[in-house]
Symmetry: C2
Subunit: 344 residues, 2 copies
């Protein structure tokens, strides 16, 4: 911690005026308080000279506002979250907010501790991609008056703004895309933090399969902190279910793990097996063959989340009551991994 910082008192003493006056000037209330232009200039000059910077801790303590936004994501090293974080941080910064972020690794305990940290530190609001099991804690936060915007996952009956994408529709489209390319035996490998029947990506898959009279085949996975563990699991699936024609992956790291599994089994994409993954990724774009994906509108998600929060933070107290759920749609980026060369 910096030692000898110059405080508002130093400015005041140095100029033989009261710190009140300095504070007024610094907070742009000079006109309102009809402080003479001369004095204003003198103070501003001294501020420059002494390199005064307000202590945000004291400011925060006094005003109850810290200009800090808490951002909680599942895994900051996942490009999906990293890019959202970057965008959010950028926008926050432009509006004079700082981001204090944390990466939960889907650890419920950690997530809870981060939430109390947010309140202890006094963040003005937070943007959260919630993990399972922290519904109560978030509710408490909201009840205490914290401004919260959720994204990526949501809870039922929660009084917060939510930015979601159409997970069901995204996977539905993916399955249809495969069906249109003449694949029939299509399996889904997806994360199921909650019960499978409550996971939208699984639901979307099942709907699509049913609508086309095909048998669904779902492999639900728990979250694993070591992503490499998925590779072996997927290899096992591929070995046991060798008649699978196409695979849909519910997240980018499942897709990447799948790619590794497929490669190590010497299967060819898309001839032996077609694949399509949720979330775009450099790797999917550059891989040969390149991989068809269900792309999330990352920019829009970030933009919407931060805009919504800033509006709450800067808006009237009145409109705090109005909560909205914003649904954004995904789009398929068709690439080589989902269309057999010799087909049709």
């Amino acid at each position: 911690m910096a030692k000898t910082k110059v405080s508002i008192n130093d400015i005041a003493k140095n100029l033989n005026i009261s710190k009140t006056t300095v504070s007024f000037i610094l907070n742009g209330k000079a006109k309102e308080k009809r402080i003479s232009d001369k004095l204003v200039k003198k103070v501003l000059l001294k501020v420059q000279e002494l390199g005064y910077q307000p202590n945000q801790l004291a400011q925060g303590l006094r005003t109850g506002k810290t200009n800090i936004i808490g951002l909680m994501v599942e895994d900051i090293s996942n490009p999906f979250y990293a890019n959202i974080a970057k965008k959010i941080e950028d926008k926050a910064y432009q509006n004079n907010y700082k981001i204090i972020y944390c990466s939960t690794e889907n650890n419920q305990e950690r997530a809870k501790e981060f939430l109390t940290m947010f309140t202890n530190i006094g963040v003005d609001g937070c943007i959260i991609a919630p993990t399972m099991g922290i519904e109560k804690e978030i509710k408490d936060l909201v009840n205490m008056g914290m401004n919260v915007v959720l994204f990526d996952r949501k809870f039922e009956n929660m009084s917060t703004d939510v930015v979601m994408i159409d997970n069901q529709g995204g996977v539905y489209d993916a399955v249809e895309h495969l069906i249109h390319n003449n694949y029939k035996k299509i399996a889904l490998i997806a994360l199921a933090l909650d019960k499978p029947e409550k996971e939208d990506r699984i639901i979307g898959y099942q709907k699509a399969m049913n609508d086309h009279g095909l048998n669904p085949l779902v492999f639900p996975f728990p979250f694993k902190s070591n992503l490499h563990d998925y590779v072996d699991d997927i290899k096992r699936i591929l070995e046991q279910e060798s008649d699978i024609e196409a695979l849909v992956f519910g997240t980018n790291y499942l897709g990447i793990s799948g790619l590794e599994a497929i490669t190590s089994l010497n299967l060819r994409i898309p001839d032996d097996i077609a694949i399509i993954s949720f979330d775009d990724h450099d790797l999917f774009r550059i891989h040969k063959p390149d991989i068809t994906v269900v792309a999330q509108p990352i920019e829009t998600i970030a933009q919407t989340a931060i805009d919504t929060l800033l509006q709450k933070l800067q808006g009237e107290e009145g409109d705090k009551a109005a909560y909205q759920t914003i649904n954004l749609s995904t789009h398929i980026i068709p690439r080589a991994s989902s269309q057999k060369n010799n087909h049709q």
Copy 2:
């Protein structure tokens, strides 16, 4: 910001004792102050009951310690930095420190503003992967008594701890690896934020080439915030210098851009051109053929940086004077992109 938080006063009033006593108990000074076990228990119980959490702003204001560490990196969406950030955050969290991070995008102005933000907010220390041109600001920070650990890049004559990797040696090894695999016309594509002759990765390349009597061919690049822009540049190079046999990339995103360029020109790796890149990446591991890399010891870098800082923060005032530069070495992960099948 949370509204009705229970304060230490509430506890005191509720129990009809002074807040001093509560504070002593909460800070583990009960024995030292010989407070009765009964009272201690009663207070702790009430704390539980009321769900008291200390206000860290007030704590910070009073003690001059915030338990916040500032982390500044070039680009949080680069897996190299993201993984380091994750590791650092993890370790910090275990030691009851929070991370407030920011991503400079190599923007000098932004970096400077973040640094003043760090002091205004009163972080206890910071870990910085510095961009060019902020040498003076970092020096000021250090002079104010801030604990600073630098990594990834360093400045000369700076009184801070530094965690570096052997950039020269890493590239040197890469070049030798290629030479051993019978490549002669080896070019380097690397970032040069500073003058090329001051960039260790460029120096290492030149040394290696000279030591083996080969002509160096360096393509230095400025930082570009849109990484896609590199692709076209690299394509142009490949078209103009069609006799290049092997390419060394100075960073992972240059390597990825190179891969895109090579693919779009329909060149085969490693038969038409061999490549080796600095920094490992999922993409390099999974790409076909997989890409040889100079891997940085990410875990160790993160571990060393945070350990060094924590030691400073928690250690005696005395050892602040001792600064060390820690050099870690890289290692080559040989893969298919750097050895011709028909060679030898």
